[in-house]
Structure formats: structure tokens, C-alpha cells
């Protein structure tokens, strides 16, 4: 990945902050979110990688990430984050941004063989609102 990259506009960053009320810049990449995530194996970008992408302003990658729909919102990451960033809330924020149609990305239910049922249900619920 070569910088300069296309980074999220100030408006988009402000929108994320207004939805989540959290500042991802506080993240120091301890990776506790990923180490505690029950679905980390199913994710393309792991929770801490999502946080890093957001810190670097690379929202496009986050919006395209399947991880948004794999997350079961179990809140394990949020309850343990030492920086109180609540990764689950950040991920929820991105889902909201996709659902609000601010992105060109088409959301799609994730259905891969071997995926935990709970994750599929959570994903369906998010996608069929």
C-alpha cells in the first residue's frame, strides 16, 4: 500500500464520530479485540486491522470488508478494550453508514459454509432490516 492514498473526507470522519461517539485515534493496536473475538477466523480484516485502517483514514477498505457482516455484535471486544474505543460500536457505525446508503457498496448477506449459525443470523438480521 502506497501513501498518499485516498482517505476519508473530514465529513465522513465526522459522521463516524457522531454515530459512535468514539475516537479510533485512541487505539494503540494492542489487538485485544482480535484476540477475544469469537469470529476472528471468519473475518477478512480482523477487528484491530479495521481499527488501524480507520486510523489511517482508509474507509473504503473498511466499507468493503466482509468483517462488518461477520461481526455478531457480541461486544466481547468493547467490554475489554483498554482504550475504551468499543470496536463493536465502531463496526456498527460502519454498518450504519453502509445501510444509510452513503456508500456505493452493495451489502450482501454473508453465507459461507462452516460459518457459525449465530453469525449468519446476526448478519441476516442486519441485512434484512
Amino acid at each position: 500500500m502506497r501513501f498518499p492514498q485516498k482517505v476519508a473526507s473530514a465529513a465522513l470522519q465526522a459522521e463516524l464520530r457522531s454515530i459512535t461517539q468514539k475516537d479510533v485515534k485512541d487505539c494503540y493496536q494492542c489487538m485485544k479485540c482480535s484476540s477475544g473475538c469469537p469470529f476472528v477466523a471468519e473475518m477478512d480484516y480482523k477487528p484491530h486491522q479495521l481499527m488501524q485502517l480507520i486510523k489511517l483514514g482508509l474507509f473504503d477498505r473498511v466499507l468493503k470488508s466482509q468483517s462488518l457482516w461477520v461481526c455478531a455484535s457480541c461486544l466481547a471486544c468493547s467490554s475489554r478494550c483498554p482504550r475504551d474505543i468499543e470496536p463493536a460500536a465502531i463496526i456498527e457505525g460502519f454498518r450504519a453508514m453502509v445501510l444509510r446508503g452513503k456508500s456505493e457498496d452493495k451489502m450482501r448477506a454473508v453465507h459461507r459454509p462452516g460459518m457459525p449459525r449465530q453469525a449468519i443470523i446476526a448478519s441476516m438480521r442486519k441485512n434484512t432490516r
Partner: protein
């Protein structure tokens, strides 16, 4: 001779691995051992009184203790001997804890070894001779070498305690590295705003004498009575006449690179180090001065209305006496030209952190603007690289330079505040922010900069019109290679000992560690002292330090000197070399090996076959001797001994095994 033997349990430390009762029992059978017993904690008050009681009851005159390392409690037991009216060197310690129980697991074997160690100590104490310390007078004047923040702090503290101090500085002004800095972490205080009042205070202090443009040539003597030769370089400006008007500087036709600005600006051949220099008197840099090179010019002399310019001025050698010396010579920053992958020295836009620091300084070469040295434009994107030459066993220094994490955080923070459009990328291996309010500071810095975990492997010129640099790194979090098209690259270079630190160590008779920093007497418990009594350490000459730590150590070192001055006397080392004049052949081989110049020769008269004959023998100055034993090891006639470790004592130990 009545020897008492005491075996300590050290709680369970020794008793767990050594059968202490059996050791005491077996040693009790040795000849001359009048008492042998064990106790739970010999160092405790109870244990001490137990030994005291045994000394009285059994009329003991020598004591052997089987306990921990003599480094821990030798002084405790020696004090007890003194209180019982016995010579403190009539106690011998067998180290059963470090040498036996802590390193072995087999109780039977450990017990046998413990018995051997105690038997050895008993054999040694039989040949012990009483030793005495002498009280040496102290010259209550201190020399502080190095006028950076550590030296300034030490000098002010000693001066405030009421003792005269000479503050010696190689450059023409005190201030050191701190004078070059812009802001200081973690509070973002302006460096000059907190330093210059201290510099002025130093110069104005009635007890401080500034010796700028000076160097130490030689040191002789011993604790309390050092004699130091100082070279005051000829500045070619009479400080007493100069009124600091600066006309000479304005008119001087010769300009050279200004080292204070890291070569980013120019200065004149006659110059002051920086505007707030203390003393604020110019000096002539003879290497660059036209008059000194060609004999022509003389502009400064013509314009000086007070006649302060003196081209004939000579270096001056001062002989001064001091009781204590504080070494505060500071550090150098490495120039990473040897790390070719970073292109330092090959591309003007690869700079060091100190170069950037000078740029950020409002009174620096760019008046506080950050520019690309190649074209003077403001950079859009800056890559910071941490640990350049630090923590690098291969081509750099193995140690951590300690301050780079925080000053880089400071740079990132200052840039994001002053120039919010500049993007900062920081490549790091670890961020070490251990210090009061440091983590919080780093937290703030993260808001304005992108921290990427992974060391940069290569910087390449991109070959585009703007001559940008491609910085190739990796981000461990994303697991992805990262390339930055950077306009400016800032290298956090390694802190190193001064280039001539080893040479000064030789002059002072102190030691350096494997990295060339001065060695403290004990890593934890004697951080201010050196192995040489009366010489103390302050600041980064002992190892990488930030400003608060340098100031702390300076005050500590000053306190050590003040304690010595307050007492007015120091005890000499009792375990010095002893000459047996009967055996000495006067070959004087011991003189050149003595690192402390303690050995001299003397003439003695003796009667041989009815005649009086003169003979040369070695003589030891007990104040100078530090008991290193070099002479005793070398002496071929066996005439030289070290008190407490005589050849007879050591041989008796060997024989007992």
C-alpha cells in the same frame, strides 16, 4: 586464638538447601574454633546480639560468618566487631547464600560445599592482620566537568550548599544540548525558557566560577585532594574588556557553517555560540579566521572600541585543587551515514531529529518553519524512523537511546499543532513511554500522527521532479507492506558517548562500559559514584537519559559531594597494599603497573654484617592506593601484599581444601 563461627539460615534462603546445624557441628571440631552455632537471621538485631553475647561468653577474638555475600552485610558485621573492641578485619564471611544455596539444589552436596567454604574462611581468618583506615582531609571545592543541564544543576546545588565550584565547559558557552532544543516533553515547555534562567543563575552565583573554552588535561591525587590541570583555550577576546556589543561579529567578513544549527545556517569566524550564550562574549574560531590563516584582515580588532581583541592570546594552563569531581560530559548523536539504506548524507531531505528540532525552534535557522532542505518548500508528508542505530547489534549500538520515542512524539505533536496539513507517519519497533506523564503525552501525539509498527528497510529517491523519497516499511497490524512518498525523512539517531569519553576516563581513572558510557559503582545502589572515590557521575555520560533524569542524577551527585564536604574528612580504604621491606628487592616493577600512582620508592638504612647500608624499597601512599592488587600480583619477591588478602591468607584458604 579463639574463633567463633556463626552460620546464618537467612530465613529459608540458606536453610532450605544447606543443613546449617551440620555445618556448625562439623566446623566446631576444627582447632581454634571456640564456638560454633547457627541462627535464623544474623543480620537482625537478635542475631547481632547473639554474636555479641557469644564474643563475650567465649572470649572470642575472631569471627567467621557463613551468610550472604559480603557485599550485603560485611559492613554490618564489621560494625559489630568495632563495638566489641575488635578490629573490623577480624571478621571473615563465607558466602553460603549466593555461592551455595541459590545455585545448588542437592542438599547433601550443597552442605558439603558449605562446610568447605566455612573451613576456608576459618583458615583465612587465622592469618588475618588488623587493618586501619586513616582520616583524610578534604579540599572543600568541587570541579564539575561539562556545562550542560546536568553540570549546571550539579554546580548550582553544590554552590547553594555554600561550597565553591568550578564549572568547566569545552564550548564557549554553557547550556549544552538542551540549549539547542525547541520544546521539551512531556509538558512542551520551551527549552530555552527553562534553561536560560539556570544558566544566568550559574554565572551570577557567588560560589560558581565558569571555566568555558576549557578542557581537563590531567588529574592526580585522591579523594578529597585532587589536583587538576585545566587548559583554557585562547579565545582571542579579552573577556574582562569585552562589553558584548557584537560589532566585531557584524563586521567579520568570514562566514562558516553554524554547528549550533546543525550546519543549517551560517555564523561568523568571531561568534557567540547562540544569542543567549553565557558568558555572552564572542570568541574567535582560529581555524576559520582569515587573520589567523593569512595574517591579513584584522577587522574585528579595528572595530572593537574597547580593545578587547587579542590575537596574541595564548592557551592558559591552570593548576587547581579540588575535593570532589563531578563528570557531566553528556553525549553525542550518531551520524547514521553507515546505514546506507536510509540515504542519510546522500539526500538532503533525509535529516536527523536534531536537525528538525533546530527547524522547529523559533530562533533557529528557519525561524520555526519546517522546510525541505533541498528546495526550501514546506513538506506535505514526513516519515519518521525510530531506532536508527539504536537497538542494532549489527551496525549500530545495542542499547536503547531512551529519549527518541518521546521526542518524536513531541515532533509529531508540534507539527500537528503548527502545521495541520503536514501528514506524519512514524515507523517504530516499540514505543517506550515509561516516565511520569509520558504515556499521556504519547497518547496525544497519536492523535496527529500515524504510527506504523515495523522498521523501515529502505529509502529510495523516487526520481520525480520534486525529488521525493520512497520510504519502504511494513505495518504489523495490517500485515502489509507500506510505502510512503515522503517529502522529508526524519531519523531518530542514536545517543552515543562523547567521542573522547574514553580519553577522559583515562585521565580521571574511571571506567567505561562496553558501550563507552561511564560506569557507576553499583547499578542500583551507587548510581552517582564511580569506582574511584570522590569522582561522581551526572547525566547522559553515564547512559542515555532525558532531562528530568539528568537533573535528578546531577542533584544526587552534588549531594554526594556536599556530604563529603560537610564531613570534612574521608576514610581511606584500609585494604591497601603493604610492602614487606625485608623482602623488597627495590626492582620497582610495581610502580609502572599502579593505576593510581600510589607507589614510590624510598631509601632505607639497614645494618648488614656490622655495616650500615642504604637500600631502595617500594613505598605505598595509602591515601592513593585503592587496593586493586596489581602490584601484589606482579611482585616477584613476594614483598607486596594487599591488606585483607595477603598471600598467606589466600594460601591458607587453598591449603584448607
Amino acid at each position: 586464638m579463639r574463633i567463633g563461627v556463626f552460620i546464618c539460615w537467612c530465613g529459608s534462603n540458606i536453610k532450605h538447601t544447606v543443613d546449617v546445624e551440620r555445618v556448625a557441628r562439623e566446623i566446631g571440631r576444627l582447632p581454634h574454633v571456640a564456638y560454633s552455632g547457627d541462627a535464623q537471621y544474623l543480620c537482625s538485631e537478635v542475631g547481632q546480639s547473639e554474636i555479641g553475647r557469644a564474643i563475650d561468653e567465649h572470649k572470642l577474638d575472631r569471627v567467621v560468618v557463613g551468610a550472604c555475600s559480603p557485599r550485603m552485610h560485611e559492613a554490618t558485621f564489621q560494625q559489630l566487631m568495632i563495638s566489641k573492641g575488635l578490629n573490623p578485619f577480624y571478621v571473615e564471611i563465607a558466602n553460603l547464600r549466593e555461592h551455595c544455596s541459590w545455585v545448588h539444589t542437592d542438599k547433601e552436596k550443597a552442605t558439603v560445599k558449605a562446610i568447605d567454604l566455612v573451613r576456608k574462611a576459618v583458615a583465612k581468618i587465622k592469618h588475618a592482620i588488623p587493618l586501619f583506615s586513616e582520616q583524610l582531609g578534604v579540599n572543600k571545592r568541587a570541579l564539575v566537568i561539562g556545562g550542560g543541564i546536568a553540570g549546571i544543576q550539579a554546580a548550582i546545588d553544590i554552590a547553594d550548599a555554600g561550597y565553591p565550584v568550578d564549572l568547566l565547559e569545552r564550548d564557549s558557552s554553557i547550556g549544552g544540548k538542551m540549549a539547542q532544543f525547541d520544546k521539551t516533553f512531556p509538558t512542551l515547555d520551551c527549552s530555552a525558557c527553562i534553561l536560560t534562567p539556570k544558566m544566568v543563575e550559574t554565572a551570577a552565583h557567588g560560589n560558581v566560577t565558569l571555566l568555558t573554552s576549557s578542557q581537563v588535561e590531567s588529574v592526580s591525587g585522591y579523594v578529597g585532594n585532587f589536583s587538576v590541570t585545566i587548559r583554557r583555550r585562547a579565545t582571542s577576546v579579552k573577556a574582562d574588556l569585552c562589553n558584548g556589543c557584537g560589532e566585531c561579529i557584524t563586521k567579520c567578513p568570514k562566514t562558516v557553517d553554524n554547528e549550533f544549527d546543525q550546519g543549517q545556517s551560517k555564523r561568523k569566524a568571531i561568534h557567540t555560540l547562540f544569542p543567549q550564550a553565557v558568558p555572552n562574549k564572542p570568541v574567535i574560531d582560529r581555524e576559520n579566521c582569515i587573520y589567523f590563516k593569512t595574517g591579513k584582515c584584522g577587522m574585528c580588532k579595528r572595530v572593537c572600541i574597547v580593545g578587547a581583541i587579542d590575537y596574541e592570546m595564548q592557551d592558559e594552563l591552570l593548576e587547581r585543587a579540588y575535593g570532589a569531581i563531578i563528570v557531566a560530559t553528556g553525549f553525542d548523536l550518531s551520524k547514521p551515514t553507515h546505514l546506507g539504506e536510509y540515504h542519510y548524507g546522500q539526500h538532503p531531505d533525509v535529516v536527523t531529529s536534531l536537525d528538525l528540532e533546530r527547524m522547529l525552534n523559533a530562533s533557529g535557522p528557519t525561524n520555526g518553519k519546517v522546510i525541505r532542505p533541498s528546495n526550501g518548500q514546506e513538506p506535505k508528508r514526513i516519515a519518521f524512523i525510530q531506532c536508527v542505530g539504536s537497538r542494532d547489534r549489527h551496525k549500530g549500538n545495542p542499547y536503547c537511546s531512551k529519549v527518541c520515542c518521546l521526542y518524536t512524539a513531541k515532533h509529531a505533536l508540534l507539527l500537528s499543532e503548527k502545521f495541520p496539513d503536514i501528514e506524519s507517519y512514524i515507523f517504530y519497533i516499540d514505543v517506550r513511554a515509561a516516565g511520569k506523564n509520558y504515556e499521556e503525552f504519547y497518547e496525544k501525539a497519536r492523535q496527529g500522527a500515524s504510527y506504523l509498527r515495523g522498521q523501515v528497510s529502505k529509502i529510495e529517491p523516487m526520481g520525480d521532479r520534486e525529488k521525493r523519497l520512497l520510504v519502504r516499511g511494513f505495518d504489523a497490524s495490517l500485515g502489509e507492506a507500506i510505502e510512503i512518498e515522503a517529502d522529508l525523512v526524519v531519523l531518530a539517531t542514536s545517543m552515543e558517548p562523547k567521542g573522547d569519553a574514553k580519553q577522559l576516563a583515562g585521565i580521571l581513572g574511571i571506567s567505561t562500559d562496553q558501550n563507552g558510557f561511564y560506569t557507576e559503582a553499583h547499578v542500583k545502589l551507587k548510581p552517582f559514584e564511580t569506582q574511584r572515590q570522590g569522582i561522581f557521575l551526572a547525566g547522559a555520560c553515564q547512559g542515555p537519559k532525558d532531562i528530568p533524569e539528568a537533573v535528578t542524577q546531577a542533584s544526587g551527585a552534588a549531594a554526594k559531594a556536599i556530604i563529603m564536604f560537610n564531613r570534612g574528612q574521608v576514610k581511606s580504604v584500609p585494604t591497601t597494599a603493604i610492602v614487606n621491606q625485608d623482602l623488597c628487592s627495590g626492582c620497582m616493577q610495581c610502580r609502572p603497573v599502579c593505576p593510581y600512582e600510589a607507589v614510590s620508592s624510598e631509601n632505607i638504612a639497614e645494618r648488614v654484617a656490622g655495616q650500615t647500608r642504604q637500600r631502595v624499597v617500594a613505598k605505598v601512599n595509602r591515601a592513593l592506593c585503592q587496593g586493586c592488587g596489581a602490584c601484589a600480583g606482579l611482585c616477584r619477591s613476594g614483598a607486596m601484599d594487599i591488606g585483607g588478602f595477603t598471600s598467606r591468607q589466600l594460601l591458607a584458604e587453598v591449603d584448607s581444601l
